[in-house]
């Protein structure tokens, strides 16, 4: 066999699991979503946070910066979650409907790889869009905090000393662009990742995009409300029975506690987010992604296409 022929001859050995195949599917998924022009949402996002900036000029600077952060994080979290659910819901039901799935699964691609590739593609999209949003958010925040400082100095009745300026700066900047905000960004991503995993799971048995979106949104809202409900349920102070604890645990697995991920409220109010809380969120996300992928696989592996 000459060199040419060796290059052309395609290895027949089947790899049981191939990260390259998953990556191919993930990249394809990412391209699909990008070419669906999802990134136009950035325009809406910019309008929102710039609007928030202009609307509240009559507040004190502390309030102004807090509102800017609240609105930005709120919008980021909302967009990321919508993306996660709607984006994911568009993937598998559409592949089934268009029968594109036939051409993929009749290549030597195990069904789990297809699922993981799709999940990874949507996570990639979430990461990129959240990064873009935070970049915009941080830029606006940076400009604003400098603007406020300039205004403050200008409006000061007397000549300001350097020490005075340093004090102002310290005061303003501590409520502005701080590294802790990155923890908030991470939390937004983790929450969206869990929402995507939920939607992926739903889409393995749902037959339409619309149904997937609706069911996922229901799970999403129950996931937000469950901590309230459980608090209320166990509020009497008595020890819950084993059955009750099991039930609560079950609900906790089926409906992820999305409320836990909302660390940004405390963050914008200046509270400290502990490293252990963040580590717990990362662990929780990994747990949900694994569980949901596994259950999705159990359903999808047997699915008649």
């Amino acid at each position: 066999m000459n060199q040419e022929a060796q290059d052309t001859a395609i290895s027949r050995r089947h790899k049981v699991f191939s990260a390259l195949r998953i990556w191919a599917i993930a990249r394809n998924t990412f391209t699909q979503l990008v070419r669906m022009k999802v990134f136009y949402f950035m325009l809406i996002f910019s309008a929102l946070i710039i609007g928030a900036n202009l609307l509240f000029l009559s507040f004190t600077f502390e309030q102004e910066l807090k509102i800017l952060k609240d609105v930005s994080f709120g919008a980021m979290s909302l967009f990321a979650s919508i993306f996660a659910i709607v984006g994911t819901a568009l993937l598998i039901p559409k592949d089934i409907e268009d029968r594109t799935l036939y051409t993929i699964l009749t290549k030597p691609v195990p069904r789990i790889e297809y699922l993981l590739g799709k999940l990874m593609g949507i996570l990639l999209l979430l990461a990129v869009s959240i990064l873009l949003m935070s970049l915009l958010f941080f830029t606006v925040l940076y400009i604003r905090q400098h603007g406020i400082l300039t205004e403050k100095i200008a409006s000061f009745p007397r000549q300001v000393s350097d020490a005075q300026i340093a004090l102002f700066r310290e005061d303003i900047f501590s409520r502005g662009l701080q590294p802790e905000l990155l923890l908030g960004v991470l939390a937004v991503f983790l929450k969206a990742a869990v929402a995507a995993a939920v939607a992926l799971f739903v889409s393995t048995f749902a037959s339409s995009t619309l149904f997937t979106i609706i069911v996922s949104l229901v799970v999403y809202f129950i996931g937000h409300a469950q901590s309230l409900a459980l608090d209320y349920y166990f509020a009497e102070g008595e020890m819950p029975s084993a059955a009750q604890r099991f039930f609560a645990g079950l609900i906790g697995v089926v409906f992820p506690n999305f409320q836990l991920f909302n660390v940004t409220d405390g963050l914008t109010a200046g509270e400290v987010v502990s490293a252990s809380l963040m580590a717990r969120l990362v662990g929780l996300t990994a747990f949900y992604l694994t569980i949901y992928s596994l259950v999705s696989w159990l359903i999808f592996a047997k699915k008649e296409l």
Binding site: S11, L20, R21, A24, N28, T103, L105
Partner: protein, 293 residues
């Protein structure tokens, strides 16, 4: 390998029953079907709509599980992902990611087959040429016509250099010139020793390319065998003459009459098939266009 060489396709006692959700009703799509396709053969599965052709192919490719019986490809069970390592499949009415261009599509499927970047480039170059889509390679599939989709589908099926190619109605919705190209392609695959299974309800096409055919009706294989054996009319012969004078025909008639038991059934001008006529008209039209320029 245990046996000398397992057949390309082996289907044994395959039955597929679809249970309709929320109803008691059942649909028997395939009923105790067995067939075997040897390596290098071109097998035609023909039958009317709803007879179970696509269902049989889907079971063979592991897209659905059989209710009974089993299917295997080169000795590997269809339920095993590894069996798809040497298969290319073109589904009926294929539809691909419409936001990808032609060459991106082939690159994507190539990666799924485990090809390296270099192999992908060479392979897609070759295949785009083969299916005549080189000029449309950088256009998105959303803008492809039905025939172009069918062709990119074929290229996609071939990208992994398969030993078995399964084509579900490869010429549906394709014009006669296009379907002739697909026919030539199948013959080319056969020449290279690649096994092909194709389904169709266009009998003439199947007749042109297949070594063996199976006729499937209501999920059952009602006829199977070598095409030549199935369609030859043993006790008839055909003579086609050009520029024969009426006198010559008369003499032939007289000769036939002399022989005991022999009989002239027909004598007249043979008719071309509509397909041939259409193709001829097109090729004349295109050569005229060539002269105009």
């Amino acid at each position: 390998m245990a046996n000398a060489s397992p057949p390309a396709v082996l289907i044994e006692g395959l039955t597929k029953i679809f249970r309709l959700p929320f109803r008691k009703e059942e649909v028997v799509a395939v009923d105790d079907l067995s067939l075997e396709v040897g390596a290098g053969e071109v097998y035609g599965l023909i039958g009317p709509n709803g007879s179970g052709k696509s269902t049989t192919m889907k079971v063979l490719l592991g897209l659905i599980a059989p209710s009974a019986g089993k299917a295997s490809i080169f000795g590997l069970d269809s339920a095993d992902t590894a069996s798809r390592g040497s298969v290319g499949f073109l589904p009926e009415n294929p539809y691909f990611y419409k936001y990808l261009t032609g060459s991106e599509t082939l690159a994507f499927y190539g990666k799924l087959c485990g090809l390296s970047g270099k192999q992908i480039r060479r392979r897609s170059e070759e295949l785009l040429e083969l299916v005549d889509l080189t000029s449309a390679r950088d256009r998105r599939l959303g803008g492809y016509s039905k025939g172009m989709l069918q062709r990119i589908g074929l290229a996609q099926a071939l990208v992994g250099d398969p030993r078995l190619v399964v084509l579900d109605e490869p010429t549906a919705g394709v014009d006669p010139a296009g379907s002739r190209k697909i026919r030539d392609l199948v013959l080319e695959l056969k020449r290279r020793g690649i096994t092909v299974i194709l389904s169709s309800h266009l009998l003439e096409q199947v007749q042109e390319v297949c070594d063996e055919v199976g006729i499937i009706f209501n999920g059952r294989l009602v006829r199977e065998g070598k095409l030549d054996d199935l369609i030859a009319i043993e006790d008839q012969s055909e003579i086609v003459l050009q520029n024969a004078s009426p006198q010559l025909l008369e003499r032939i008639g007289a000769l036939v009459d002399e022989e005991d038991g022999a009989q002239m059934l027909r004598c007249g001008n043979p008719r071309t098939t509509l397909e041939r006529l259409f193709l001829k008209a097109i090729s004349e039209g295109s050569s005229q266009e060539g002269e105009d320029h």
